[in-house]
Symmetry: C2
Subunit: 170 residues, 2 copies
Amino acid sequence: MAERELLLLGLLRRENMHGYKLNEFIENDLAICTDLKKPTAYFLLDKMAKQGWIEQYDETQSGGRPPRRMFRITAAGESVFQDLLRARLKTFDPARFTADPALAFVDALDSAEAHALLSQRRAGLAAELDTMRAVPEHPGTFGFVIAHRIAHLEAELRWIDDVIAHLRAL
Amino acid sequence: MAERELLLLGLLRRENMHGYKLNEFIENDLAICTDLKKPTAYFLLDKMAKQGWIEQYDETQSGGRPPRRMFRITAAGESVFQDLLRARLKTFDPARFTADPALAFVDALDSAEAHALLSQRRAGLAAELDTMRAVPEHPGTFGFVIAHRIAHLEAELRWIDDVIAHLRAL
DNA sequence: TTTTCCATGTAACTCGTTACATGATTTC
DNA sequence: GAAATCATGTAACGAGTTACATGGAAAA
């Protein structure tokens, strides 16, 4: 549903950027909510430029460095951004949990091993939750993303405790 | 991480099946936790047969119907299944929410529209939660999967209410 | 007799990733 | 002089999907 285009347009809307900086920002600051990779970003930037959603221009640098290929969003791109944003916000689609099929097969293991594995899982989860809680307050709406992550980690923790308790009861 | 192979092996472990029935079961009963498609299933079955994880045999049918291509798991396949299951259970990896980048850009909309869109989102979410709560008790460990889904839908609902409240406060 | 269900597959395509390739500049 | 960082890309591959293709049997 073009989440990646939405992300790139949203970033370019705030500030004109070149590919390298865009990638750097995504890797460093946005890793929690996206996994967009460098070649994909370059590919999408070219594609969006062809579609007229963004424009390229060269920015000459000081110190004899080669010019950077900068991107700016166009009016058409802004309109696409708004449409994508609305579409993405208005409908909820449930995430899939890749471990769910495995979980349904947990009865294939003896209960001691199942318990050990799930405890390990719980530990990783708790560690991740601690990490997220330690993240400093984020400016603006990005705080929602952190809160989102924390809410689901807490739900996951309660649920795994429930699963462990149920298995123990068998 | 070979979740799909794990799923197919897990099903074949319980009962020998042919491709059609496997697909039917996945589509009808397992749609909540997987989106494995028919051509993918046939492809994986062939691949796993080549690797010796499963074996094929023809089952002649009554009524002059053509024989069905049945699959059964091998000892090697059982061992792969166990390994994949353990690997998948022991580590937790956080799900990504495709709407998160969009959410971080919610300030690009005026607050009335943002509120309207998020309310629509909330309604879809609440409907999905009702559906899940109406699912009858499931036998065995599959109940965990339903409980998992419900736990996360509830977390999502609380969080979206929080987001709406915050936006209103601006 | 026409539609639906059972049953099996293939071909082409899309999307995204990994790994590779290049070169200039700045820092150690 | 070597290593890291800035900066931009491409080629090959892999996984999975859509759409297509086929044919027999049962039900309407």
